[in-house]
Structure formats: C-alpha cells, structure tokens
C-alpha cells in the first residue's frame, strides 16, 4: 500500500480492496516500526487518525468521496492543528496546543485526508538540514548518516520512507524543493498567495508559501487541488481561480520552451549532479521541448537579498513570542523585561536567535537604507529578470541543489555554508513564482533533483511538464530500501 499513488489508492478504496481504516493502520504501523531511525515525526495522532479514517469510510460507503478521501498525510508542524500540539520544532511552543486549524489543514480535512501526525522540521522553518529542531535532527531515509534537507525535512523523510503517501510543507527560501531533491520526491512551492497562509506560523510573510511532497506530479496535482484557493482570512491570498490541475496533466509538451539559466550551471554545481540535470534537459528535448539559453544576471544576488529580507520579516514576526500569552515562560522572572528577555533567550534556539538579531540589525537606525531598502531594490531586479525571461520561455529549468544530501553535522558549524544550500531555490521565493523539484538521477546512490520554475499561477503547466517527464522516466519510482 505504501508504494501506491493517490489515484491507485483512491481506486482501491472505492472498490473496497481495503478500507480507509486499514490503510491508516498500515501507515501507523510503519511509523511505529520504522520512524525511530528517521525521527520524521514530532507528534503522532493515531487515535484521531483512525477516527478520521472511519469517517472517510462512511463517506466512501455513502458515495460521497473525493479523490483524497481516506488518503493519509502528515502535516509539517508549522500548520496549526486544532487540539493538537503545534510546536514549530521549538522549545518555545513545546506546550502549545493549537486553538484552531490552518486553512490548508481544514481544506485537506474537508477533502477527506486523514492526518497521521505532525512532521519534524527546522525550528521555525529556519534551516536547510533539519538539524535546528528542538526535537533532534531528521535522518535521510536514503542514508541515515545524511540530512534530509530542510526546513521541511520531516515531511520529506516521511514520504520518502513510505510512512505517508503525502505531506504538507512550507517553502520560504527552498524549504520544500531542497528536501524534495535530497530525498527523491516531487515537491511543489506554489505561487505566493496560491495557498492560504492563515494558521501557518509566520516566518517571512512576503515569502512564505504552503505546498507539499509526493511521489509524483500526478499525486501533487491532487494535493494542490485540495490546498489552493482564495482565503479572506489571509490578507495576501490571491483572488485567482483554481484550475483543474488533474485534468491539465495531459497538456502536450511539444513546442514547450524551457529556459536554461547559465547562472544555474556555473561554478559550485557538483559535476555529477549537473550531469543528471543535463540528462533531464536532453530527455525534455526528446519529448519535443526546446531548450533556450537564458540569463538571470541578478539571481547571483538571491542569497544575500534573502538574508536581509527574511530575517527582517522574521524579527518582526517572532516578536509575538514574549512569554505572556502562550508558549514558553522562564522561571521566576524578576520583572517584565526579564520575563521577555529570558523567555525568548531560553525558548529560541541558536539559529533562530541569529536570524532575529540579523533582522533587528538590518532594520535598525543607520542601517535600514544600506541593507533593507537596498535588498528590496535588488529583489525587484531579481523579479524583473524572471519577467524578461518569461517573455522568451514557458518554464525555466535547472538544478534544485548543487549536490546530493550532505552528512549530519557537516555544515552545522558555518551558517553561511548552510545558507548557500538554497542558492538555486531562493530566487523563486523572492519573485513569488511557483517552482517544483523532482528526482532526475542518483549520484553515488543518493537522489538529486531538477527544478522547474514557472510564471505566476502556472502551476498547471509545471505539473504537466513534470508529469510528462515522469511518464517517460522512472527516477520518481526509485525508493530507498526501507520503502520497498
């Protein structure tokens, strides 16, 4: 059951080959048996999952089921889930029981998905290796001495290990695409505003976007269809109709123009990873697409731009954690300032504190123009490069990461080396564009990903292009030993 796609699972549930309760039990048993190796979950909600599965079975019996009814999934622990601890992998929220659910959680629940539990992640989604979690690092199912990527590392590891068919994630600078690449999954970051941010613990509000992990573009089409849509409770939610992503999967590839940005194939790209991506380009040409050489000159400034904009927004968003209304409070505060300072100093981990301080610094008097305003201007240049490129091409194609998964601890000591992990993914967040990573090869037995970036709201085109590739290749069907 753990190697079946959404459509096959839905067919099996509809024909009563097995029930939603049986399917949920299968995944719960796998989690209980296997997850101690990976640490992909922070909270398991077995009882609730079985109750939701029973409801799904009732809907199936009543003929009231959709394609996701009875399909188990795991939510990144950044999504509020009513009545269930939502920790954001931080000591700060270790005791926080969410008083309401995120819109995305509600929508997937309404579609009939069964939530198995909450996935581990980097603390407050700040990290690219899942090593900053208060609950310990997540390990990559392909090689448990390596990281799964981050920040949505638990979501990625869970789907890669066959602990759930689907998982949600969020992507502020690459937090879905980078772990998808490092664990051999399809991962989609939709257009900014496509999925509601309501009930997602905010990191950098002009960059944050919800998306997900799956084994294929087809499965992703089902997941996105249920997640996407306007939400009046999110002030930057897009008032844009949601197309039929599943129906659009069969769009032909012939004539599709794919832009190959030369900056994405420059120094720093591991040769074997680059070769796997080049092979994907060649496959696309064989399928009738045209490859167009393009340049995104300002994209080389993406990482520095991000490390001004994101910490600035984070320092503001994380001001709400003050030890007064919810979350961690220090023992025996001497006065109100001591309460604020020690609750935050003790409740936040080191990477989170670094980013809050960088944010406070770049926003402070005397530095605002040189850092924050300049970063916002460079952000405009980065977005303009994409606008110009999309006048010539339909999608942009390149690597997701420079290399396959690295070892635990390998980059933990140097924040800048860690930040450079997201060198190919950050620009899409800055410009607000949808982007997808899917597996395109194995390097020394470890998966690597190819990234497709589209114009705003072109998720259907991205998914169709990925689906066509997956119909002619089998990289997305490669799974680690544990998931066989």
């Amino acid at each position: 059951m753990h190697n079946m796609g959404v459509r096959a699972l839905a067919d099996a549930l509809a024909s009563r080959s097995f029930s939603a309760v049986e399917l949920t039990r299968h995944f719960l048993a796998r989690i209980e048996r296997l997850d101690s190796q990976f640490n992909s979950l922070i909270t398991l909600t077995a009882e609730q999952a079985l109750a939701e599965a029973a409801q799904a079975d009732a809907r199936l019996a009543a003929g009231d089921a959709g394609p996701l009814t009875g399909i188990p999934l795991i939510h990144k622990d950044i999504f509020l889930t009513q009545g269930v601890r939502t920790s954001c992998a931080s000591k700060m929220l270790d005791n926080f029981i969410a008083p309401y659910s995120a819109t995305v959680v509600e929508k997937l629940r309404a579609a009939g998905c069964v939530s198995l539990g909450k996935a581990n992640m980097d603390e407050f989604a700040m990290g690219s290796s899942n090593e900053t979690s208060y609950y310990g690092p997540v390990r990559n199912p392909w090689d448990t001495t390596r990281v799964p990527g981050g920040s949505s590392g638990g979501s990625a590891a869970a789907v890669a290990a066959g602990l759930a068919p689907l998982a949600t994630g969020t992507d502020t600078g690459g937090s879905i695409r980078q772990p998808a690449a490092l664990t051999g999954l399809t991962g989609l970051k939709p257009t900014y505003g496509r999925c509601s941010r309501w009930g997602i613990i905010a990191f950098a509000s002009s960059l944050d976007q919800a998306g997900g992990f799956s084994r294929s573009a087809e499965d992703m089409a089902y997941l996105l269809a249920a997640m996407a849509g306007f939400d009046a409770r999110d002030s930057t939610s897009a008032e844009e109709a949601v197309p039929d992503y599943v129906a659009a999967l069969d769009q032909p590839l012939a004539g599709l123009r794919l832009g190959r940005p030369r900056e994405y194939f420059a120094e720093g790209l591991d040769p074997a990873t680059g070769a796997a991506v080049e092979a994907a380009l060649a496959q696309y040409q064989k399928l009738g697409a045209t490859i167009v050489d393009i340049s995104l000159p300002s994209s080389t400034q993406s990482v520095p731009t991000y490390y001004v904009v994101a910490p600035a927004e984070a320092s503001s968003n994380l001001a709400r954690f003050d030890g007064v209304r919810y979350g961690y409070r220090c023992a025996e505060p001497k006065n109100l300032t001591d309460l604020y300072m020690r609750s935050r100093g003790e409740g936040f981990g080191r990477e989170v504190q670094r980013r809050i301080m960088i944010g406070a610094y770049v926003l402070s008097h005397g530095y605002y123009d040189a850092y924050y305003l300049q970063a916002q201007k460079v952000r405009q240049l980065i977005a303009s490069d994409f606008d110009a490129a999309f006048e010539q091409v339909d999608l942009i194609i390149g690597p997701t990461t420079q290399a396959p998964a690295f070892k635990l601890g390998e980059k933990a000591a140097d924040p800048v080396a860690m930040y450079l992990n997201d060198i190919y993914t950050i620009a899409a967040n800055l410009a607000g564009l949808p982007a997808l990573s899917m597996p395109c090869g194995l390097v020394d037995g470890l998966p690597v990903g190819v990234q497709l970036i589209g114009p705003r709201f072109a998720e259907a085109r991205l998914l169709a292009a990925a689906h066509r590739y997956q119909q002619h290749t089998d990289w997305h069907q490669q799974v680690p030993e544990v998931a066989r």
Partner: protein
C-alpha cells in the same frame, strides 16, 4: 571567508537587547563571529546598481484588501487563556509593572 564586516561583542549585546533576547556573556563572542560572517555575505548587495529601481515589498502587485468594519471573529476567551503561562480572572498575568 575573509571577514570585512566585523561586529564587536558590545554591538551584539545592543542588538540582542533591541530584540529582547537574553544572551549569556559567554556566547557573545561566538555570535559576533557568526553574525559578522552573515553580514559579510549580505554586504555583496552594496555592489548592485539599484539607481532608479523601486523597492519591492511584496511579490504580487496587489493593493491592501479591505473588509467592512464588522465583528467577524469570536475568539473563545477561556480557551485562549488556557494557553497562557499564567492567567487569572480573564487576564494574562505578568510580573508587577507599576510599583
């Protein structure tokens, strides 16, 4: 990487105070080093020519959506107070502010 920007431990203390973070004295030097490395990275931005470029605050060119001024949320006061570290008769409790 060679460091060109360097923050002194006293500057880290000032930023930590601004951000209301209690940083132990023994961590200041390490933070100064790490934050300096990050600022070196973002210092590359100074080389970009941004004359006549409008700052971009938001990826979608949208105006602030407004709604009518009506009560739309009905929070459950008791449920929210239960999340607080300390509360009493409908209020959040903090250490005495006014002597």
């Amino acid at each position: 990487m060679k460091k060109t920007m360097s923050l002194e431990p006293e500057q880290v203390r000032r930023v930590a105070d601004l951000a209301r973070l209690a940083v132990p004295e023994s961590d200041l030097a390490a933070y100064a080093d790490e934050l300096s490395r990050i600022l070196d990275l973002v210092d590359q931005l100074k080389g970009a020519d941004t004359n006549a470029v409008e700052p971009m605050a938001h990826p979608l060119n949208m105006v602030q959506r407004l709604r009518s001024d009506e009560v739309s949320e009905h929070p459950d006061r008791e449920a929210l107070l239960k999340l607080a570290p300390e509360s009493e008769s409908g209020h959040f409790l903090v250490p005495r502010v006014i002597e």
